[in-house]
């Protein structure tokens, strides 16, 4: 760790595939014991950035400082202190759960006891089950168990909850919170805005290979001001309808049939909006009033939503 308490510092990282710049000058720093999230839509460059940091890919240029050492490429000694959950990665289907964890434990010099890891990930009951018989959530827990078995100081979790049901997702969130409580440094990627808000100390929003905004989730949302977002669906809206609606607040954007109307004077805008809907005889279905979130930050920066 350097004198600033940083566990990881990435400077001007670049990686291209032919003409495509997958990672384009990415820089960030992660203090020890925090959760840092790379948030962005698919193809933003999150996974490539993480794969470089995990040692799966070599950057074209840029520097990585981790555990106080400057590296061109992640080496074996660094991997001893890291744990990785890959976005796409599976295990031998004909191995049992405990055999998988034991196999990965054997790769490290000072692993945690297999039993302890299985208990922590609530896999004890499934320890004798073959990998091929596990559900998606159980496989993801096994992936995290394997990432934890080295008792890592730095943990990479690449899209840890993608494809999981809400309950399984919240279980993974509990695990991440628990790990942070144990002083682990976690680097997370997700395209779930809520996940980033709930889990992260710091968020870097990525788009087209670069970081377009970075900071604590609350600070990022605060950049949009103290405005309120009124969100509703409007079927068959004409251009003149949208122009009239925009005049009711301080800004307007749409995504399909969904309209996002921002306002600094919520009560007045709401009254005028309801009057407008009565006059036009149109229904404002699915109306939601909320504070700005990371989704709105991304929308305001890129003009599109995270999951487009």
């Amino acid at each position: 760790m350097d004198e600033n308490g940083l566990l990881l510092r990435v400077t001007d990282l670049r990686k291209s595939y032919g003409d495509v710049r997958a990672v384009d000058g990415v820089s960030f720093a992660v203090p020890r014991g925090t959760v840092f999230t790379l948030l962005g839509p698919n193809g933003a460059g999150k996974t490539t950035t993480l794969e470089i940091l995990e040692g799966l890919r070599e950057p074209d240029s840029g520097t990585i400082e981790v555990f106080g050492r400057s590296l061109r490429r992640v080496d074996r000694a660094t991997k001893e202190r890291m744990g990785v959950l890959l976005q796409e990665g599976s295990f031998e289907p004909y191995l049992k759960v405990k055999e998988v964890v034991a196999l990965f434990a054997s790769f490290f010099a000072r692993p945690l006891p297999v039993k302890e890891v299985l208990e922590r990930m609530e896999l004890t009951e499934k320890q004798n089950a073959l990998v091929r018989t596990l559900s998606g959530g159980q496989k993801q827990r096994l992936g995290i168990a394997v990432a934890l078995v080295s008792d890592p100081e730095l943990l990479f979790l690449d899209e840890p909850t993608t494809g999981l049901d809400p309950q399984a997702r919240r279980n993974i969130w509990d695990v991440v919170r628990d790990l942070e409580g144990r002083g682990k440094t976690i680097i997370l990627t997700t395209h779930y805005m809520e996940e980033a808000e709930v889990l992260s100390d710091d968020v870097a929003i990525m788009n087209h290979g670069g970081i377009i905004a970075q900071g604590a989730p609350r600070d990022l949302a605060a950049r949009l001001g103290r405005e309120t977002v009124i969100e509703f669906a409007l079927a068959g809206a004409r251009p003149e309808d949208l122009r009239e609606l925009e005049a009711l607040g301080t800004g307007l954007s749409t995504h399909g049939e969904v309209v996002f109307l921002k306002t600094a004077a919520f009560t007045a805008t709401m009254e005028r909006l309801l009057d407008w809907s009565k006059e036009r005889r149109v229904a404002l279905s699915g109306l939601v009033v909320r504070q700005p979130n990371l989704e709105d930050v991304f929308l305001s920066l890129t003009g599109r939503r995270l999951r487009e």
């Binding site: 599976s90 004909y94 054997s106 073959l130």
Partner: protein, 403 residues
């Protein structure tokens, strides 16, 4: 070492738990062994086959007195097409005119050795006179001999020999008619010389087949096992789970090699046990040379598997390529049967096929001569293949998706 062994143990568990893999790599060679012995172990007792037979009559006696000539006449008769246009039982090859008889014999021996001809029959000089002397003395102590050269382990050669014995018996009957109560079976003794057997005795098919099946099993484990496991693990992104840990490609290669060696040892043990105790094989692999060839075979096919894996991007393509390679390589190897003469292009394929050299070499060091290549070549060609395979695999093989 700990990493390598734990990985090898995990791989072995996967192999043994995957029933299909277990069947094709371990049980199938045994099933094939039993089937081939059952079907071809008794070849020659039935069936119609055409034989190429060399005949050299060194007996100078002419006319009715010439017994060698009588045998030749019967063989000539058998070499005539049937009345219904059927192919004759045999083609007779004799020296042209009064050419060099020794050179003819040498050529014919070579033809038998290479499987081109089924038999070479040599009637020795003074044969007729010795038969008549034996008849006049009514002695059975000094039987007159005919030399027959046949190929060790060749079923068709054995069948042709049994036909020749019938011919000799026919001549004996003729001799009997003129010689009184002489025992026909003692009159002329057929001396059989086995070409291609270091032990100087007939090689039973089960003994001939066993080393071939061992190599086939090793070959299958390498050709299908390596690309299957490697490409599947790459495709399913199992490999990349390893690469984010201190476990490296060299650990993987070492562990994978240990697993492959254990699978080969398992295949070998099972085939030997079944061969020995169920099928009565007598051939022994208990020599340092045999062990060397077994290790060489195991290593060559492991490297060959990596080579095949390096040529394709997906597991399905890898299996298709392995299938496409498997048939011609095993067909043109002499693993299951002695190869006869091949047309030009196939001869070229045979000459570069590591399987045929390993089969030749292994059979030679366990006492089944049969080899047409010198022993050093039987070692060198597989080593060259191994080096070539590793070189190509080292340059082309990708260890992760999208690399």
């Amino acid at each position: 070492m700990r990493l390598v062994l734990s990985f090898a143990l995990a791989q072995l568990r996967v192999t043994l738990r995957e029933r299909e893999t277990l069947f094709w790599f371990v049980l199938f060679p045994v099933v094939l062994f039993v089937l081939l012995v059952a079907i071809f172990g008794s070849l020659g007792r039935e069936g119609t086959i055409h034989f190429e037979v060399g005949f050299l009559n060194r007996d100078q006696a002419a006319g009715e007195a010439g017994l060698g000539r009588r045998i030749e006449a019967i063989l000539e008769d058998l070499a005539q097409p049937g009345a219904d246009g059927k192919e004759p039982l045999l083609s007779l090859h004799r020296p042209a005119g009064t050419g060099d008889l020794d050179a003819f014999q040498a050529r014919e021996e070579q033809a038998v050795r290479y499987g081109t001809h089924a038999l070479l029959v040599v009637v020795p000089e003074g044969f007729s006179a010795r038969v008549r002397d034996a008849l006049s003395s009514r002695s059975t102590t000094d039987a007159v001999r005919i030399q027959v050269f046949r190929r060790a382990g060749s079923a068709s050669s054995g069948f042709a020999l049994s036909i020749l014995r019938q011919v000799i018996a026919g001549v004996d009957q003729g001799v009997l008619a003129s010689g009184g109560r002489f025992r026909a079976e003692d009159a002329v003794v057929v001396d059989t010389v086995f070409l291609g057997s270091a032990r100087g005795a007939e090689v039973r098919y089960v003994d001939f087949l066993l080393p071939g099946l061992v190599l086939m099993a090793f070959f299958t484990a390498g050709l299908f096992g390596v690309p299957g496991a490697l490409l599947f693990a790459r495709e399913q992104r199992i490999l990349r789970r390893y690469w984010v840990t201190p476990f490296s490609v060299s650990h993987f290669l070492a562990g994978f090699s240990v697993t492959h060696a254990v699978v080969c040892a398992l295949q070998f043990t099972l085939l030997i046990v079944v061969g020995r105790f169920a099928l009565g094989a007598e051939v022994s692999f208990a020599s340092p040379e045999a062990a060397l060839f077994l290790v060489l075979s195991c290593a060559t096919f492991l490297a060959f598997g990596f080579f095949v894996a390096s040529l394709t991007k997906t597991g399905a393509a890898g299996m298709a390529l392995a299938n496409a390679i498997n048939l011609p390589m095993t067909f043109l190897s002499g693993l299951y049967y002695q190869l006869g003469p091949l047309p030009g292009p196939l001869r070229i394929l045979l000459s570069v096929n590591p399987l045929s050299y390993l089969a030749d070499g292994l059979r030679r060091v366990i006492g089944l001569e049969g080899a047409t290549s010198p022993l050093w070549l039987c070692v060198l060609v597989p080593i060259l293949w191994m080096a070539f395979s590793l070189l190509v695999a080292g340059r082309r093989l990708s260890w992760d998706v999208g690399r």
